[in-house]
């Protein structure tokens, strides 16, 4: 394990039935950095990121080989409590998925299932999380309203706040901006930039410019394989593989 590695995969293979979706992917994400994963549709980037907090477990008929190490410990080991793992490795999904509850209850959800009952403490954490997600000023007077009354971009920031409330160490973003407008996207990108101070961030994105804007490191995947992985600047200015260059210059994908 390299110094500063937070979460890494070693020779990761993933199968949906007989279809192999990830081929021997080894990738190490650095602590307090943003790592972006880019690649054409169906290249396995969502499968990859969902392997990092075992969200693929809930998909029937799948199989995984290889290792995923969080702080050097295998998260697929039978000793691991999946619920505890997911508290440490939070995830924001492609489509904003607020629960049909109030804004407040959405953010408090993770705290309450942990068994927290102290209302003042919950209130404080909810406020802190909403501030961190840059949503507090927009919702502070309507915390009791249903989360569905928010706009798409606000809903996505609410989902970010909801994840932050359980104090994760790693935040995974699975194409977080694909369903929202450019202005809301800019807000979320700002947020991701700031988040790396406290969290290790991994983001899957369809949008190369987004990777260039927010990521310290970028991985390029194709057909389930990791083609190239290095500092974002290098990937976009001086890629070492021809495939990477073809993709980022828009020759395919």
């Amino acid at each position: 394990m390299k110094a500063g590695t937070k979460i890494e995969t070693r020779h990761l293979n993933f199968y949906y039935g007989n279809k192999r979706a990830l081929k021997d992917v080894s990738l190490a994400c650095q602590t307090h950095k943003v790592t972006a994963i880019i690649g054409p549709s169906g290249c396995g980037k969502s499968t990859f990121i969902r392997a990092l907090n075992r969200m693929n477990d809930v998909i029937l008929g799948t199989r995984i080989e290889g290792k995923v190490l969080l702080d050097g410990k295998d998260i697929y080991s039978p000793k691991v409590d999946v619920a505890e793992l997911r508290k440490k490795v939070g995830m924001v999904f492609q489509k904003p998925n607020p629960f049909p509850k109030s804004i407040f209850d959405n953010v408090a959800y993770g705290l309450r299932i942990e068994g927290m009952r102290d209302k003042r403490k919950i209130g404080k954490i909810v406020e802190k999380s909403l501030r961190e997600a840059a949503l507090w000023d927009e919702v502070k007077d309507r915390l009791r309203e249903n989360a569905f009354s928010l706009s798409g971009g606000q809903q996505q920031r609410l989902c970010i706040a909801r994840s932050l409330a359980v104090e994760p160490e790693v935040m995974l973003f699975d194409e977080p901006c694909s369903a929202i407008d450019p202005i809301a996207t800019a807000k979320i990108e700002d947020l991701i930039e700031k988040m790396k101070e406290n969290y290790t961030v991994v983001i899957v994105t369809h949008n190369m410019q987004q990777a260039a804007r927010v990521a310290d490191y970028t991985a390029f995947m194709m057909l389930g394989e990791l083609i190239e992985y290095s500092e974002t600047k290098k990937i976009f200015t001086n890629p070492s593989r021809k495939l990477t260059e073809d993709y980022i210059t828009g020759r395919f994908g």
């Binding site: 029937l60 998925n97 629960f99 009791r144 994840s163």
Partner: protein, 283 residues
């Protein structure tokens, strides 16, 4: 122009279908309402039948149907819910679960007389519950189960997967995600299905006539082992088995109307509960 005519004809046809159905239904309700309404009085609702069921009321039958429906619900509601939760949320989707699901769907199409005969063998004879309100209620429960399971499963399926995944991603266990983020939203839909199933059971005659319903019993069951009168069976008796059918016809109409009203009340109650559940959720 031609498109417009086609559209007009299309809509016209759909409208005719709707009005035909409505007309039949209204005629049916009007017939029962007008003829049954005449005999409904406080005496009719609160007294037992007298003089070989040519006079008096139908109180034991109302209470019998009410009580047997409660037994039905005690069996069919929780079992249906839990089975559906297991099938939809936990069970792996294998060939076996597909066969189980298909069998449940098929069971809802089995004629009710078959359930009646099955109830006689299982509850009355093998388990020795005798011809009793318990045997009848359990038989109706079996009849209702496929409906409550299917309805509950449909309600669970209607909950988007993102609710489940969202909860899991926050560190919820699978049961926590189901209990806090799936069941509360599926409950109104489940309830609707449950009540539809129960109202169907409340109106059944065949499953109870061999298992516990009595031809004439002018008092209420005192224990689970007693026989009981029930509205649908009473109606059947009044309409086909009585020695003076034409004389008791108005009473039969009254019984039919009461049965319809009872089912209407059950459905209204559930609509109110569902409305309140939805309102609580929105707040």
């Amino acid at each position: 122009m031609k498109k417009k005519i086609t559209q007009f004809l299309g809509f016209f046809f759909l409208r005719v279908c709707l009005y035909t159905v409505l007309a039949v239904l209204l005629l049916f309700l009007f017939d029962i309402g007008s003829k049954g309404g005449k005999v409904i009085s406080w005496e009719f609702l609160s007294q037992a039948p007298r003089r070989g069921m040519t006079e008096g009321g139908i109180f034991p039958a109302i209470m019998g149907t009410f009580l047997v429906t409660i037994i039905t619900a005690i069996l069919a509601v929780p079992m249906g819910m839990f089975t559906a939760i297991y099938l939809n949320e936990y069970a792996k989707q294998t060939r076996l679960t597909r066969i189980i699901r298909l069998s449940i769907r098929n069971l809802s199409g089995v004629p009710s007389i078959v359930y009646g005969l099955f109830g006689v063998i299982l509850f009355v004879n093998v388990l020795r519950f005798g011809t009793s309100i318990l045997s009848a209620g359990l038989t109706l429960g079996l009849l209702t189960l496929p409906w409550t399971i299917t309805a509950s499963e449909e309600a669970l399926k209607a909950i988007p997967n993102s609710y489940r995944e969202g909860a899991l991603a926050l560190g919820a266990t699978q049961w926590q995600s189901i209990r806090t983020n799936v069941l509360p939203y599926a409950l109104p839909g489940m309830l609707t299905g449950m009540v539809l199933g129960l109202s169907r059971a409340a109106g059944e005659t065949a499953p109870i006539m061999f298992t516990g319903a009595a031809f004439y019993l002018p008092f209420l069951p005192k224990s689970l082992g007693d026989q009981f009168m029930a509205l649908p069976y009473h109606l059947y008796v009044m309409a086909t088995q009585h020695h003076a059918i034409s004389q008791v016809r108005p009473l039969a109409y009254g019984t039919a109307l009461v049965l319809l009203l009872l089912i209407l009340i059950m459905n209204l109650a559930v609509i109110i509960v569902r409305y309140r559940l939805r309102r609580v959720k929105r707040e």
